[in-house]
């Protein structure tokens, strides 16, 4: 019973949502689901947030290694909660939008959250350089192909690519790097994208059917049969 009901719910909800697409009176069900999901996600946050508080609280309590940083995490968490839920220093008071300019919540966002996020994102510039270096030591034929294609596309987007191959005569214009880059983007790149996309869709269909038919139940924490 404990294991059958969840499988029945999955099958029923999945089947109904597939069929809903073909019946106009029911076609909004997908949107309704996302509203339900948004509501469930907030309730679930009590579990996630609770876990955050418990793990860091435990570290502080046991004076474990780096417990000071856990204290900082919890302080940041509760500060943001208080600033947002009670709309502290919000010029429009409790009725105003939580992100109103001048509110503590927005200030914490602008001064802390935003620069931290942008800097983390900017690290990608360094990582993309080290990954390029790794690709440069192409281990096999596939990696070499990846590298050559990447190199042509990269050069094709820079003035260097234009100057380097401008001498090639017009009848072999495809060999000029900017043209070659465009050709790669519109021919082999497109073909690869399509094969990947069709493959992904078939994988999704098969996986979803395994879930709806109850063949795949790992997510329930139950083993098959």
């Amino acid at each position: 019973m404990k294991r059958k009901i969840p499988v029945i719910i999955t099958s029923l909800v999945g089947t109904v949502l597939i069929l809903s697409v073909f019946f106009p009176p029911a076609e909004r069900m997908g949107e309704d689901f996302s509203i339900f999901f948004d509501i469930i996600a907030v309730f679930a946050f009590f579990l996630g947030g609770g876990n955050l508080v418990r793990i860091h609280g435990n570290k502080i309590y046991k004076k474990a290694r780096d417990w000071g940083f856990s204290a900082v995490t919890l302080a940041g968490f509760f500060l943001m909660l208080a600033a947002g839920l009670f709309k502290i220093a919000n010029p429009g008071g409790i009725a105003a939008d939580v992100t109103a300019q001048g509110s503590l919540f927005q200030m914490l966002y602008d001064w802390i959250f935003n620069p931290l996020g942008a800097s983390m994102y900017a690290l990608l510039a360094f990582y993309v350089a080290s990954a390029s270096y790794r690709a440069f030591r192409a281990k096999n034929k596939e990696a070499t192909i990846l590298l050559i294609a990447a190199f042509i596309i990269l050069l094709g987007r820079t003035p260097l690519g234009v100057y380097a191959t401008a001498w090639i005569p017009e009848q072999f214009s495809l060999m000029q790097i900017p043209n070659l880059a465009i050709w790669i983007m519109t021919a082999p790149n497109l073909a690869g994208q399509r094969a990947i996309m069709i493959g992904i869709a078939l994988g999704v269909i098969s996986m979803s059917l395994r879930l709806i038919l109850g063949v795949e139940r790992t997510y329930l924490g139950t083993d098959n049969e």
Binding site: D38, A41, V72, A195
Partner: protein, 214 residues
């Protein structure tokens, strides 16, 4: 106040970048603050947008009582905290998984299988005088052939029920090469945009903060 904010932002920017050298206390501090602040940020946003805006206001103002089903599913999720009836928390989870499976089947099937196959069904060339395709350059004709053949062999690569041997294996090989060109193209295309992210942060450090560039 504005200057204080800029200094604070600079402090965090440099703290994160210091990770490239090695893990250090400055980075740990930034990381801890980021985790705490952002977890709080998302809870506040979810609370005001979903619970207050989507749920409470719609129930009280528009009387959309069917949203109570969503709230009951959410409450069931919390039953995990009461071990004897914790198993009920699987119901909302099954609901989410079933709905996701149902929605994804149709969306992916329509947008990835149908549309992509339809777009591939194109003439490769034309032998009819006066047809625009008749006067197409050899490059674009080769391009058309590569699109059709590349898509075909790419699908051969993903075939699971036949060993990649002989002619079939050869096609699978061409397929994976096509896929690798796709990856390379995507990689090369992204490099520049990633560099601009760093330029953005450097602009903040040397411009907004240090005032060295304007």
């Amino acid at each position: 106040m504005e200057i204080f904010g800029t200094w604070l932002a600079a402090f965090f920017t440099l703290g994160i970048i210091s990770f490239l050298y090695r893990d250090n206390a400055w980075y740990k501090l930034c990381e801890s603050i980021f985790v705490g602040i952002s977890a709080g940020y998302w809870f506040v946003t979810l609370f005001w947008d979903n619970i207050h805006g989507l749920f409470w206001e719609r129930i009280t103002e528009r009387h959309d009582y069917w949203l109570l089903i969503g709230a009951s599913l959410g409450l069931m999720m919390l039953l995990r905290l009461i071990p004897p009836i914790g198993w009920i928390s699987r119901w909302p989870l099954s609901f989410v998984v079933g709905a996701t499976a149902g929605l994804y089947i149709i969306n992916y099937f329509a947008s990835n299988v149908m549309v992509q196959v339809e777009n591939t069904l194109m003439p490769l060339f034309s032998a009819k005088f006066g047809d625009p395709l008749f006067s197409a350059s050899p490059y674009s004709i080769v391009g058309n052939i590569v699109v059709a053949a590349g898509t075909f062999t790419g699908l051969v690569y993903f075939f699971f029920s036949k060993e990649h041997k002989g002619a079939f294996g050869g096609m699978a090989k061409i397929g994976i090469w096509t896929i690798m060109i796709t990856f390379g193209a995507s990689f090369g295309y992204t490099v520049m945009s990633r560099m601009s992210l760093l330029i953005g942060r450097m602009d903040f450090i040397f411009g907004d903060w240090l005032g060295l560039i304007r």
